[in-house]
């Protein structure tokens, strides 16, 4: 048995039946990280000693029959979640010296449920990016390569690129991510794995390095829909330390994966048919809808008329919130400091040295759209369009139970591509951003390969706090797609 190939669900079973120990499972992953991380750069920090100590504690708990939902399961944590005593840099040079004295609620929930942390994963700087190319700690390689050209390194997507690459390459069984405009779902699609963004408020943002607070959603990555459901069950829950955390019960998400789609109404938003979308993606989308129809779902054409304004609205709202959130990096309380002639010079030099080009660009845009004289024209107008985007979803979910769309308008591209024009990079998130604007839950499920042999994902969206339907439809797509292709770079390959 290759331990790194197991799903979380099957590893849980194996641990309980004493087929292998948590230490063996953890050691297998650590050895695979040693072998593959120099090529992938998926992890920025590997906490091997800590992981082995957690594994021994898990084995003791297993021996005593004290089982928690994730006892002994080795996971990777995006470096945007503060981890007590372990450097958390969020892909930025400005946080390079930062060692949090506290644990984020989501990672604390995973530890409470017995998980083992292998390390922290690479990401776009402050989660701003769709390719992982903006990280101050170097690009991440996608473990998949093009059939005709396996030398060209492809991006894993972003911003949670390290987490997606690690799970796809079998150097983590699952991982955490955050999704502000698509940063879980788009890398999941690029890396051929499952990524889930729950409803806004389902997972606490406390201890998550903030990018755009009204859009940031923590969520899980796994190689199966059920694994994501298991992880979300542990990550979710009300947290008094996050005022936007929802005080609602956490249902059994894994049980929802076993339900059928018979009788469900699935909407197909006509605005998601974009000019110039690759034929492979169109074909896969049609196929996915056929699968659901065959399984007894009713397919309905619907309209989300403000879809095309999602991205532009996002590029006002997200930079505005970022410019405010990132004001805390001042060189005084934590992080990098560059000395200056006076306090103001210290601030300006610290922030110039500490922020990369994309972060600087967004902070400047955000500062401008919030500045006196421009607030109404940009920020206030964007908030009104955001209300219209939410209204589109509210109205459509009166008529349908879920929406099915492509996750991204392309497969993974090469490192260095789409770098000449920021807007070209931003277009990656055209299908994912509306769910962040409205807060509705969504998942990306790998559904097939394109002509180059690269994975493509389909996205399922449902109404707020109805993650169960997202999992039900996602699992139905997964069962029919039978996606068993694996990346060229992976543990044991």
């Amino acid at each position: 048995m290759t331990l790194t190939e197991l799903t979380i669900a099957s590893a849980r079973q194996g641990l309980r039946e004493k087929q292998f120990s948590a230490r063996e499972l953890t050691e297998a992953h650590l050895a695979a990280i040693d072998a593959l991380n120099p090529r992938l750069n998926a992890y920025v920090t590997v906490t091997a000693e800590r992981a082995l100590a957690q594994a021994d504690a898990a084995d003791a708990a297993l021996a005593a029959g004290k089982l928690a939902p994730l006892t002994g399961i080795p996971l990777a944590i995006k470096d945007v979640f503060c981890t007590e005593g372990v450097r958390t840099a969020a892909g930025s040079h400005i946080l390079e010296p930062f060692v949090p004295p506290y644990e984020s609620t989501v990672s604390a929930n995973l530890l409470r449920d017995g998980a083992i942390f292998l390390g922290k994963t690479n990401m776009d700087e402050f989660a701003m990016g769709s390719s992982n190319m903006t990280s101050a700690y170097g690009p991440v390689a996608n473990p998949w390569t093009r059939r005709q050209d396996n030398a060209a390194l492809l991006v894993p997507g972003g911003s949670s690129g390290g987490s997606a690459s690690a799970v796809a390459a079998r150097i983590a069984m699952g991982a955490t991510g955050t999704d502000t405009g698509g940063s879980i779902r788009q890398p999941a699609s690029f890396c051929g794995i499952v990524g889930m963004k729950p409803t806004y408020g389902r997972c606490s943002r406390w201890g998550v390095v903030a990018f755009a607070s009204s859009l940031d959603h923590p969520g899980p990555f796994g190689r199966t829909v059920e694994d994501c459901a298991i992880l979300l069950g542990s990550m979710a829950g009300h947290d008094p330390k996050d005022s936007t955390s929802a005080d609602v019960p956490v249902p059994d998400f894994a049980a929802a994966c076993r339900r059928g789609v018979k009788g469900l109404r699935i909407g197909v938003p006509r605005e998601y048919r974009m000019d110039g979308m690759p034929e492979d993606i169109e074909r896969l989308w049609r196929q996915g809808l056929d699968w659901l129809r065959d399984a007894g779902a009713e397919i309905v054409d619907v309209s989300l008329p403000h879809t095309k304004y999602g991205l532009t609205t996002y590029y006002i709202v997200a930079p505005a919130e970022a410019s405010s959130n990132l004001a805390r990096y001042d060189g005084v309380r934590f992080g990098l400091r560059e000395d200056g002639a006076d306090l103001r010079d210290l601030y300006e030099r610290t922030r110039a040295a500490g922020f990369g080009a994309e972060v600087r660009r967004r902070v400047l845009i955000g500062t401008y759209v919030l500045s006196a004289g421009y607030y109404d024209a940009y920020y206030l107008r964007a908030q009104k369009v955001r209300a219209l985007i939410l209204r589109d979803f509210t109205e459509v979910f009166v008529h349908v139970d879920a929406l099915v769309t492509p996750t991204a308008p392309s497969a993974a591209f090469a490192q260095g591509e789409n770098m000449d024009d920021p807007i070209k990079m931003y277009l990656n998130d055209v299908f994912t951003v509306p769910a962040n604007m409205s807060g509705v839950p969504g998942i990306s499920v790998p559904a097939g390969l394109d002509a180059n042999g690269l994975p493509l994902g389909l996205q399922v969206l449902a109404k707020p706090f109805d993650e169960e339907t997202v999992f039900t439809v996602g699992a139905a797509l997964e069962r029919t797609a039978q996606f068993h292709a694996s990346p060229q770079i992976r543990a044991g390959a």
Partner: protein, 95 residues
Amino acid sequence: MSLDAATIRRIATLARIRVEDHELTSLAAELNGILGWIEQLNEVNVDGIEPLTGAQQMALKMREDDVTDGGYPEKVLANAPDRAGSFYAVPKVVE
């Protein structure tokens, strides 16, 4: 509207990010490209629409106005680049 070098400098000052003179031209081109693209929001009719500040679909919870955390200055100051006793230290502000 198009941002000129003086406006970029003003925004950078507001954002407290040092920008060198030789960066102003390329930065203006980048930001103007993004702002030009954003202009498409002007086509949307937003008459009578209330602005949406966030995605949470429920009222924020209230709690008692009590101190519930704190009292560990060493932890708080552990990451300070410079400190004096239980305080953050910065260059002299008042002469």
